[in-house]
């Protein structure tokens, strides 16, 4: 783990950013003096520009933008994190089993992967969410269920080459059962590329969630999500520039941080896998 983090300056910046966002999300209730959802003093409190009292200003409902932004980090990162967890679990399981067992099962599972990949992800998401009642739970599930196929492919490829390695054969000679060999000997060696994929996936998912929320298909108001905040702020852009700008920046920075971190892990793995 330390090796992946410390691989380059950019990776370090990325991981620091990730840490900052996650900390902010976790500590949001303690950092913010205002409630993110309850409306404030509507008379004289609406659409205030940034000031010492409201560092990022207030919105049309007189709510503090900084408070909403920090709570929005919980929603946006939480949704993305859970979705990525679902997709990684599913991807590692499907890819691992397909690669290890091989044969017909491999064929069938990879056919399923191709099938899901054949649809553009955004279209799939919009259809899923539009047909069913939009809710945060559904959003997480939809994001997770559309992201696993590339992970499955990645893991399957890794497992196919690991399966031929001598230590896997040695585990067979030692008489270990297959599930043990797969979970204890084969899959742990795929951890590094999976972590890289997860970090990069976080970036994608944050953008997608913001996009869906922007379209009103994601997190429902009044819950603060960065995408929804940008959508709200859009209507007041000429006068109250701070409404859309800050959540927009948050999205960009979070995505860049996760991508740098993921790229760092990937490049740390690239030159030589073994530390020797």
């Amino acid at each position: 783990m330390r090796r992946w983090v410390a691989s380059s300056v950019m990776a370090r910046i990325g991981w620091a950013g990730v840490g900052l966002f996650v900390t902010a999300a976790i500590l949001a209730p303690f950092l913010t003096p205002y409630d993110p959802v309850v409306q404030g003093e509507l008379v004289g409190g609406r659409l205030l520009p940034p000031s010492t009292l409201h560092p990022l200003g207030t919105d049309p409902f007189a709510r503090d933008v900084l408070s909403r932004l920090l709570h929005g980090a919980r929603v946006s990162l939480g949704v993305a994190g859970l979705a990525v967890a679902i997709s990684m679990t599913l991807g590692v399981l499907v890819g691992g089993i397909a690669g290890y067992v091989g044969g017909k099962l491999d064929g069938a599972l990879m056919w399923l992967v191709d099938l899901v990949l054949a649809f553009p992800r955004l279209v799939l998401l919009i259809v899923l969410v539009a047909v069913l009642e939009p809710s945060t739970g559904l959003l997480i599930l939809a994001l997770g269920l559309t992201q696993w196929p590339p992970v499955a492919r990645l893991v399957r490829g890794e497992v196919l080459s690991l399966r031929e390695r001598e230590f896997v054969q040695a585990a067979r000679v030692a008489g270990l059962p297959h599930h043990r060999i797969l979970f204890r000997h084969v899959l742990p060696s795929t951890a590094a590329p999976v972590v890289a994929a997860a970090a990069l996936g976080m970036g994608d998912t944050i953008v997608l969630e913001a996009g869906l929320s922007f379209l009103g298909l994601g997190v429902q108001p009044p819950a603060p999500s960065w995408g929804a905040m940008v959508a709200e702020g859009r209507n007041h852009l000429p006068g109250a520039w701070w409404l859309a700008t800050f959540p927009g920046m948050a999205i960009v920075l979070a995505v860049v941080a996760f991508n740098l971190a993921g790229e760092g892990v990937r490049s740390a793995l690239d030159p030589r896998e073994q530390g020797q």
């Binding site: 230590f167 000997h185 742990p188 530390g275």
Partner: protein, 257 residues
Amino acid sequence: MNGLPSKPPLLEGRRLSKGYPLPGPRLLARGRLSALNQVDVALRAGECMAVVGPSGAGKSTLARILGGLEAPDSGQLLFQGKPVRTQDRAEQRHFRRAIQLVFQDPFGSLTPRLRVGAALDEILKVHFAAWPGPERVARREELFASVGLGLEISLRFPHELSGGQRQRVALARALAVGPRALILDEPTSALDTPIRAQIVSLLREIQERDKLAILLVTHDLALVGLLAERVMVLERGAVVDCGSPDVVLGGALRGRP
């Protein structure tokens, strides 16, 4: 076992043949490369037999078949005189515990992300599920000691070990299940000469102590001389000579490069 006049060999292969598809551009017209052709081999309990031959002679294929890692295309594998049916799970497990294979590259054959102590524990847990924890730990320590490793080795990862230590760990793992025979595929060719001497000495010790049968697959004739009682020469997948090392390799041993 039941008072037969002559005991059957511990492990026997009868007319073993194995081929691999030749790599080629066209799927349909590919020929098959014959790696083993009607090979008869028998390993008696407690003896050390060597299989030698140039690379590509089918030595490793033979080792893998006898170790139960690969099924022969034709021919029969017998364990204590009875055919080994690899489909039967219980029987396969019994066979796995009796015959252990040790690979050429000790680094490649140890799981990189598992501490070596945990790797050994795992095998003990699977094969001796009834043992209580402390007994397993004691057995693990005993195993490491028996291959000349200290206890501090348990917490190391394979990449933190030297080549000699890795091969010792691989041997400890093979011994963990209490086998009757070890099949060693080029056990020293990835090691430096001083470490080779260490492993030769260790193998002699293990064989004498545990009354193990050893099938030694190698191209290193010095190793054969130091360890083997019998030697079989394989060339292009067929047995061309068999006998005592002095007779079979007499000239070759003296004329080493």
